[in-house]
């Protein structure tokens, strides 16, 4: 029982991080109809920028303070992500308006390749660390209830809390602010939004910047956990089933989907894995999402697609 709960917690905490990445997908899809395959590359790019700036800035400016260095690096990395968002809008999206979803998806595949190359050329391809002072050792809780107590990774817990806070923040931003309303208007109907004076281009820059922000935070959390290097871009592949399960257009879907996938894959790996020889979590998440799609093609909270002719 204790172990089951540990697995459950582990899954929930991993799921929260998937939600964070999935949120980046959903935001961009809602606002620009682009299924952004480059989200993973953005995570890597942002994390590389963060890690390297935190290393370089103290050297350039000649001081030695971890907190200041991290703050400055965060600002610099965020600025870079905004520039990136602008460049993507200017050079790519604005030229692909009204193209089909598949074309846009393939364009983001191109962007993702480009970013992988650019990030490593600019920042190097070694393994770098992000030190934001996350506690690494685990905590034991409820020791009087379970034999040996329940193991809880403090780092995962904090990461999950940050992710949850950010997800809540973004959801609020989307629902309550004027920009958020404009974003939703764009999501509903590009042309209508344009006709009432919402500047599409600016909205896209904003939404890609916000996705860049989500990527940066995800990059910092994952980077602090795993170290920053090439494989970080693969975490996006784990978020894909989340988006599919939750529905491409739904913020709550991304959150709930993340938790379901997180818990589902951990439980499956531990309780079903041994019967299959292990290593099943990656495809299990996909097959779970796929099976779900067959029942509900638009995902958990997605809007039903009606073909109009």
């Amino acid at each position: 029982m204790g172990f089951f709960l540990e697995t459950l917690f582990g899954g929930l905490m991993a799921g929260m991080l998937y939600s964070l990445i999935a949120l980046g997908f959903v935001l961009i899809y809602k606002a620009s109809g682009v299924f952004n395959f480059a989200q993973g590359a953005m995570v890597l790019f942002a994390a590389l920028a963060m890690a390297r700036f935190a290393e370089w800035i103290p050297k350039w400016l000649g001081f030695d303070n971890l907190i200041v260095a991290n703050l400055l690096a965060f600002v610099a990395a965020m600025a870079l992500m905004i520039v990136l968002a602008w460049a993507i809008e200017r050079l790519c999206l604005s030229k692909l308006v009204n193209q089909e979803g598949i074309t846009l998806l393939m364009a983001t595949l191109g962007i993702s390749y480009f970013l992988d190359g650019l990030g490593q050329t600019m920042f190097g391809n070694d393994i770098y660390s992000i030190n934001v002072g996350m506690p690494k050792d685990p905590a034991m809780i409820l020791e009087n209830m379970f034999e040996g107590g329940l193991l809880l990774s403090k780092e995962d817990l904090i990461a999950a809390i940050i992710a949850a806070a950010l997800v809540a923040l973004l959801a609020l931003f989307f629902q309550k602010t004027a920009t958020g309303r404009a974003l939703r208007a764009v999501a509903d109907d590009h042309q209508a939004a344009q006709s009432i004076g919402i500047p599409l281009n600016r909205i896209w820059v904003i939404v890609w910047s916000v996705a860049g922000f989500a990527a940066l935070v995800a990059g910092i959390i994952w980077g602090s956990k795993l170290g920053v290097q090439f494989s970080l871009s693969l975490v996006a592949l784990k978020a894909l089933p989340v988006v599919i399960l939750g529905g491409l257009t739904s913020v709550p879907g991304a959150i709930l989907g993340g938790l379901i996938i997180g818990v589902g894959e951990k439980l499956s790996e531990i309780y079903l894995g041994p019967f299959f020889g292990g290593g099943i979590e990656i495809w299990f998440a996909y097959v779970l999402a796929l099976a779900f799609l067959l029942v509900r093609p638009q995902g958990l909270f997605g809007e039903k697609i009606i073909d109009r002719v």
Binding site: K136, P138, S231, L234, K266, G273, I282
Partner: protein, 441 residues
């Protein structure tokens, strides 16, 4: 207007055709050519880079000190990205330039090249990796897994655990987990561990990690559930540091965690720092900058502005492994020259003979500037490994600390397995085992 990209494409195609059809860039007639297959990009770049730099630095060092009896070494790097098909492309490209020896630097590429090498007559040096069965020179005429294979590594680890417990028989009833990279590299040790488990009565728990290994939460939850007495780590690249971090996060004692020699370098622990304290791994090669060889390289290569990588990297574990691989390559050429002609460029076949007749004794080790740091190595027609000596080093939170004891793989365990696997391979490939006359040739 629309024609312009087309014209551009045509121009590119013309240049391309010219480049591709051109004969391989001619190199000096009196140079020994070593292709250097490396990976400095992708998921395994942090580990591949120091390795590649070590290989290159040693070549530069030999050239700076007058070559091999006056024969300079030409080299060319080719990026494989750890991908088998890229590796094959590199091999095909560089072999055309009269390649005489190749270190594929990846298990998958080694498997693909093992079939091609005998045809092209290019020996493969796979120091500490590759196919365990290729130790058997009777079947694998062109493969040289010098210093050890995954079987000797696993054997040494089990011996070490036995020693800690006070005897191999004390392993009875114990539980040993293997957390491994889900690839041929990670799977190779399993047959040996299963055999040892049978011999000593310990329980073996297999926990695969999907490559590249950034997601291990479930694996380490299983470790926590199973509570193995020891856990062996068979990882590469980012999998290692992630494993250590997850071990920390799930509170698995690092003192009970033992890595293979591909899981015991600086990039694996650097990022975990003090939290990895107590973790041990096999040390196939020495590290540090104290040896005369490394000091000399720093002086003659790095101080001359010729260093392949940053100076701080020199002496790191994987850098030293690259250095050692290239050193054996050079020694093979030297050995071959002794037989086929001093100061001549050796062919692939001659280098192969050199590899098969290596005899690096204590005296030679001293001359190479590594006195006391490596064990003698002597290869033969039947034994392409030469030595199975290995030590253990432990991470003290900031650096690797070498432990004094040397381990040798137990021949009585390994040899029958090698023979059986080699015979199976020979049967599959319809290869005839070499006879004595072939050995003396």
């Amino acid at each position: 207007m629309k024609l312009r990209p087309f014209a551009l494409a045509m121009a590119l195609a013309t240049v391309g055709a010219a480049t591709l059809s051109m004969p391989a860039a001619a190199q000096q007639a009196n140079e020994q050519f070593f292709p250097l297959l490396v990976y400095r990009t992708g998921a395994y770049a942090p580990n591949g880079t120091p390795w590649a730099n070590g290989k290159q630095d040693y070549v530069k060092y030999i050239n700076a000190t007058g070559g091999i009896n006056g024969v300079k070494i030409a080299y060319e790097e080719c990026e494989t990205g750890y991908a088998t098909d890229k590796g094959v492309e590199c091999y095909e490209r560089l072999k055309g330039k009269k390649a005489t020896l190749i270190d594929p630097q990846a298990t998958g590429i080694t498997f693909a090249l093992t079939d091609k090498a005998p045809v092209d007559k290019i020996p493969l040096i796979t120091l500490g990796y590759g196919l365990a069965a290729s130790q058997d020179g009777g079947v694998f005429k062109w493969n040289f897994p010098l210093m050890g294979s995954y079987w000797t590594a696993a054997d040494a680890l089990i011996q070490h655990l036995g020693k800690k417990e006070g005897g191999l028989d004390k392993l009875k009833g114990k539980k040993i987990a293997l957390v491994y990279h889900d690839s041929p590299f990670g799977k190779e040790p399993i047959p040996l561990l299963q055999k040892r488990a049978q011999m000593h009565g310990f329980e073996l728990v297999l926990l695969p990690v999907t490559a590249p290994g950034v997601e291990q939460k479930a694996t380490w939850l299983q470790v926590r559930q199973q509570r193995p007495d020891y856990t062996l780590l068979w990882g590469w690249g980012v999998m290692n540091s992630t494993a250590l971090k997850e071990a920390v996060a799930t509170g698995y004692p690092r003192e009970k965690l033992f890595g293979v020699w591909w899981s015991g370098a600086e990039p694996d622990v650097k990022d975990v720092g003090a939290n990895a304290k107590g973790y041990s791994a096999l040390a196939l090669n020495p590290h540090g900058t104290d040896s005369p060889l490394v000091k000399d390289i720093l002086k003659k290569v790095h101080d001359a502005g010729q260093g392949s990588g940053p100076r701080e990297e020199v002496g790191s574990v994987l850098y030293m492994r690259g250095l050692l691989i290239q050193m054996f390559a050079v020694e093979a050429v030297r050995t071959a020259q002794a037989k086929f002609g001093q100061g001549k460029v050796m062919t692939g076949e001659q280098v192969r003979w050199g590899l098969e007749n290596l005899n690096i004794d204590e005296k030679r080790i001293g001359e190479l500037g590594l006195a006391g740091l490596i064990r003698p190595l002597k290869t033969s027609c039947t034994d392409h490994m030469g030595s199975t000596s290995v030590r253990i080093h432990s991470w003290d939170g900031s650096q690797w600390k070498m432990q004094p004891d040397w381990y040798e793989a137990d021949k009585s365990v390994i040899d029958p397995m090698v023979k059986e696997a080699a015979d199976r391979y020979a049967a599959e490939k319809q290869i005839k085992r070499r006879d004595a006359s072939d050995c003396n040739a």
